[in-house]
């Protein structure tokens, strides 16, 4: 049984998934194919899962960011976390999934504006929340201070 079949049958019995804080988190191993956000999006599309959102966190110091992609399948909330290095839009980059998942459009734009993360392979204009301004970064620790 594959890691994805597990989640539709009994994820609690699988070593590939762990339940924490109300989310079934996917534990990435060396053997699996879900190593990028785009591979996850393709796999979730194939399973008929519904994209919910991306939650971004700034990691301490200069460690970069953690992006958590949430999907729903039959009422189960799935989480896939990806860490990205860098601190500026030029260096903090991750591939966009908008071409695979239209529902991710606005949240990618919002994360881009809030944290200055660059989702590559897509257009941002006009800005979603601060039209006419530069990307906001209003959720970055250094800006908040």
């Amino acid at each position: 049984m594959t890691v994805l079949e597990n989640v539709t049958v009994n994820p609690a019995a699988s070593e590939d998934w762990t339940l924490d804080g109300g989310v079934l988190w996917f534990k990435r191993g060396e053997h699996d194919q879900l190593r990028s956000e785009r591979e996850v999006a393709s796999a979730m599309n194939a399973l008929g899962a519904r994209f919910i959102t991306i939650t971004a966190y700034q990691l301490p110091g200069a460690e970069g960011f953690r992006l958590e992609y949430h999907w729903d399948i039959e009422g189960r909330l799935l989480g896939f976390a990806f860490n990205i290095a860098g601190s500026t839009p030029d260096t903090a980059r991750i591939e966009s999934i908008v071409d695979l998942c239209e529902a991710a459009d606005w949240i990618e734009r919002e994360v881009h504006e809030g944290f200055g993360i660059n989702f590559t392979g897509r257009e941002y204009e006009p800005l979603l929340l601060r039209e006419g301004d530069t990307p906001g970064m209003n959720l970055r620790e250094e800006v908040k201070k």
Binding site: G22, V23, F51, I52, Y57, H70, L77, R130
Partner: protein
Amino acid sequence: MSYEIPMGPYHPALEEPYKLDMVCTGETVTDAKLHIGFNFRGIEHLAETRNYIQVIALMERVCGICSFIHTLTLCQAMEELTGVTPPPRAQYIRVAMGELERLHSHVLWAGIAAKLMGFKTMFMTCFALREKVMDVLQAISGNRVNYSMNCIGGVNRDVENPLALVEMVNDLEREMVRTIIPIFTTSSTARSRCAGIGVLTHEKAIACGVVGPVARSSGIAQDLRRDAPYAAYGEMEFDVPVEQGGDVRARLLVRALEIMESCRILRQALSGMPRGEINIGDTKLNFRTGTATSRVEAPRGEVMYSVSWKEGSRNPSRVHVRTPTFVNMPSVRWMVQGARLADTPLIQASVDPCYSCTDR
């Protein structure tokens, strides 16, 4: 020849701060772009500066209609982080408040839809009906908008005599069956304004990831109250109305049927409310380090909160809010394509957008 029609940023029909730039050929809309953020408030940032009591009051202000749902979702996440479980009576009160909020939201929407259709009398009827629901919300909570009902581990106020409220629910249901649903479903004017208008196909609804009544009226049978039950919903019997049309009429029908189902749930919650405590009292709260995520079915669809905490801190380190309008509104672009310009205000209203939520 095509031309552009801007609608907004203070939307003339919906009186909300957003802008829809439509490209038209003659009377027909060929494409549209939606702009939001005119009243963006930065509430997620503010939440990080508030302690675990203050943040509940803050998040109650995310939405002016579903303020209870927002604090419920937040409190459920914080309960996960503190390891506390609300008593059964609190869970039933949460269901009752959630359904009363759904009733007042759906009836309010019906009134606005009636106004946009040109049914001014129906607008007044709907708002008179909504007023009755608001009276009950005020009788329970002491407030008409921000109810201050939820706390970590339960609710702040009891429902003194739940059975006395059942009659109000019956009254509301009678009025819906006698007046509002027949007019919306049988009137030729309503039919001509709604049927086949603003269609969101099943395939496009899936692609856009829409939620709530917008999804259910495009044939997607999803409802967190049934699929991932919270509070006392696992003990309630109800149906999830689904329509296949994807047009304004389908969205109207789904909400009308949901009003009936809310009445059904309310009767069960009020008559079966167990005795006992309504919260965990003065128990000391110890937040663990980590993130908890909670989801609730608001009147407009799924609300999701991710709340992060560091042990020993009084404030959350991050609160992320995903509101239903944030995912439903982009689908308007597809709904208005091919529509007559005159139908676009009603099409946008049929999503029941909330810009207080969106510009959180």
